[in-house]
Amino acid sequence: MKKKLPAILVVVAVVLVLGFLGLGSVGDNLVYYWSPAELQAAGPKALGADVRLGGLVEAGSVRSEGMSTVFRVQDAEKKASVLVRTEAIPPQMFREGIGVVVEGSLGADGVFASKRLLVKHDEIYTPPKAGEDVTKMIKAAKE
């Protein structure tokens, strides 16, 4: 009998958390991120809404503006792209051509303002070739 109360509390907590996840998080986010083309197709409806935008960092588009980093996120098909400005500090993995997910909203000026920058990595793992130094390669890729 003495074990009962904590166990009941755990069950109640679990049910509440599952309910919250089920109704809140998952329900709102059946699509985890929008593609650039979808965001543009949504037109004025997308303006100001808190959304995630996902795609690839366009080659040659990354630059710094003061404290912000500006770059374009493009579709895998490279047909549509959205200009992103983020205050987030880009992580080590951030580079041209890599997959990113940015959280924020599209402004009237067509720029996606983001506070959170997530970097996707793919499912392919490749060892360095003979004579290559991984640490040096990663440093070189960042520059």
Binding site: V11, V14, L18, L21, Y32, I124, T126, V134, T135, M137
Partner: protein
């Protein structure tokens, strides 16, 4: 039987030592992630084995509900408990990998959300077991809950194929360098051995506890 399981445990621990060397030294780093990718060699085996253990709990639950033999209740309890430990380990490892690569400890993407639901479901069923005093009721209720809760397990595996997520999809067979794949498969074997050892010990404890309950 008891001695055999000690051998299994010893093989598992020795294998773990070799597996750690394999992941940290023998296997090469990744060209994009460098040494960060090495967490793969514990993360993926733990993920596979966690899902297998919860599936063992699911099958045991069905067998308890259909056959009413106590051994299936012991196995369900043992596999579920070790499965929950693996599930918690999995999320911790994933977080450690996510921070330097994704730039966050956690994201509510389909994979991470479904894993959180999976772990919490089975933590809840363990709690349910703790507060039902009557053994037959406890076995039946927890088996029923496990059958329902297990539905999420295939979703955990498949959601990255079906839905957009931050988490990467399964690595296709044949794309991995042989030295990487060797370590990954060896470590999967080692984690399976260690979990077999733990489940066997836990099964014995469950059997002892139930015998004591029945005698009272």
């Amino acid at each position: 039987m008891k001695n055999w399981n000690t051998v299994v445990g010893a093989v598992g621990i020795a294998g773990a030592a070799l597996g750690i060397w394999g992941g940290l030294v023998y296997a090469p780093g990744d060209t994009k992630m460098g040494d960060l990718a090495r967490i793969l060699y514990v993360h993926v085996p733990v993920a596979w084995v966690a899902m297998i253990l919860l599936t063992v709990a699911f099958v045991s639950s069905i067998l308890w509900l259909t056959k009413r033999e106590w051994r299936w209740d012991y196995l369900q309890e043992a596999a579920m408990e070790v499965g929950v430990v693996m599930g918690i380990l999995l999320t911790v490892q994933g977080s450690i990998w996510a921070k330097p690569t994704w730039n966050t400890w956690w994201a509510w993407d389909p994979r991470l959300t479904s894993v959180a639901v999976m772990v919490l479901t089975f933590v809840g069923i363990l709690a349910l077991r703790a507060f039902v005093d009557e053994p037959v009721k406890r076995a039946t209720w927890s088996a029923t809950a496990s059958v329902i809760g297990w539905i999420n397990v295939p979703f955990v595996y498949l959601c990255v194929k079906w839905m957009r997520s931050l988490h990467q999809t399964q690595t296709p067979w044949g794309t991995m360098a042989p030295e990487m794949l060797q370590v990954l498969l060896f470590n999967t074997f080692v984690v399976s051995i260690l979990c077999t050892w733990m489940v066997t010990v836990r099964y014995g404890i469950a059997a002892g506890e139930r015998a004591k309950e029945m005698a009272e």
